[in-house]
């Protein structure tokens, strides 16, 4: 963008140029004292959208891939008719007649995205200053911190939806059982329900993964040739199970100040299907439907500047849903 157009662009977004005109590539924040309160910080939102994907975002996208929708949207929930097969030659057209007419029925569901966000007050006294002027760029760091916290909340939410939609079998990991064989059995149940393993992924909790490795490394294990599984990477385990990928959910969460940090996922494993770039009508078990926020894009930032502190708000609008629950399997692990 040429300098002339940059000034025009900033004027249109409500940004005020204080002091020197901004240099291309420099982050400029609109000054709310000059504009309405809570001015939408397009450039900080642009910064959030442009930063490279980190582990947390990648984890959320893998657990529950995102698909853009309106904030109120309707879709047809499929019944189990996807694998209906004409095994009786009814797809053969007799001379003079029509082709067989079929219908995919389903129930219509209306959903709405939820607006989720956090506000943080940043005291100007805590900001680094050079010659009495606050060093620019600090809004980006705090906005990024708020965004990560929101993504953590969504990961916990996605795991809760997956858990609620799943059907459970209790299994035991020990020196005398084959943990990966048990995972394979879980995956096969997903296959029976969904018809194929093409888009299936397995999510292992941290304690479950540790338990699996311990079981294979146990000194008491009789040598049947599976001890090498203790060394399996997630890619190797995915190959063995026949699934698209295996995710290790080793995140930590903390519910309140001073509370014990707990695993996001412990002694459980899930298997279910997700399409990485879902559309509204693909057969994923879990989808994260997000609607564009004010200004477009997935994330919005609003900045309210006061005399001695600034309030930063980061928000997004999404709803994590399970359009199809068949095929979501869970195993609860006991370590023996």
């Amino acid at each position: 963008m040429k300098d002339k157009q940059l000034n025009l662009f900033l004027a249109l977004t409500g940004a005020t140029i204080i002091g020197d005109a901004p240099v291309l590539g420099q982050i400029t924040v609109s000054n709310s004292a000059q504009n309405y309160a809570g001015s939408l910080a397009q450039d900080v939102a642009g910064y959030l959208a442009g930063i490279p994907s980190d582990d947390l975002t990648a984890m959320l996208d893998a657990l529950a891939p995102g698909i853009q929708t309106n904030d109120f949207f309707q879709f047809a929930k499929a019944d189990d008719e996807a694998y209906l097969t004409e095994a009786d030659d009814s797809d053969i057209r007799a001379a003079g007649s029509n082709f067989k007419r079929i219908q995919y029925r389903g129930t219509t569901v209306t959903e709405a995205t939820q607006q989720k966000g956090l506000t943080m007050r940043v005291d100007h006294k805590t900001l680094p200053k050079v010659n009495g002027t606050i060093v620019p760029g600090w809004e980006n760091r705090y906005a990024e911190g708020l965004r990560r916290r929101l993504v953590r909340a969504d990961i916990v939410r996605a795991l809760a939806v997956i858990d609620a939609a799943s059907t459970n079998v209790a299994i035991t990991y020990s020196a005398s059982t084959n943990p990966d064989g048990l995972l394979r059995a879980m995956v096969q149940l997903t296959r029976t329900a969904l018809g194929s393993l093409a888009d299936v992924q397995v999510v292992c909790g941290n304690a479950s993964w540790q338990g699996r490795q311990d079981a294979y490394e146990a000194a008491a294990r009789v040598n049947t040739g599976v001890a090498n599984h203790s060394d399996y990477t997630m890619e190797q385990l995915a190959r063995y199970l026949g699934v698209k990928r295996v995710l290790l959910q080793d995140g930590i969460k903390q519910a309140s100040k001073g509370a014990t940090k707990t695993d996001m996922l412990g002694l459980v494993n899930y298997s279910y299907a997700v399409t990485d770039s879902p559309v509204i009508d693909d057969p994923s078990n879990i989808k994260r439907c997000w609607s564009p926020v004010k200004g477009g894009g997935e994330w919005a930032v609003a900045i309210q500047e006061h005399e001695v502190f600034t309030d930063i708000t980061v928000w997004h609008e999404s709803k994590i849903i399970a359009p199809i629950t068949t095929g979501v399997r869970k195993t609860t692990v006991t370590i023996a």
Binding site: V109, A160, A164, A165, S166, T167, V169, I171, T260, T262
Partner: protein, 63 residues
């Protein structure tokens, strides 16, 4: 394969699965929560055991 079946003569299946459905209904639409619970119950009964109530999670104990 699965853990040894446990038989608990005092187990109230209806209450257990009703509680499970109520729990699932916190994050899923009610119809789905009931459907998943019915599927779980059918599987549990086919496997021949009445599961005992889950132990409190470490989180609940810490609270």
């Amino acid at each position: 394969m699965a853990a040894k079946p446990k038989k608990n003569p005092n187990f109230d299946a209806d209450a257990y699965y009703k509680a499970m459905a109520a729990d699932k209904a916190k994050v899923l639409p009610l119809k789905d929560a009931l459907e998943v619970t019915a599927r779980q119950r059918a599987e549990d009964e086919a496997a021949g055991f009445a599961p005992e109530p889950e132990e409190e999670s470490p989180e609940a104990k810490a609270e």
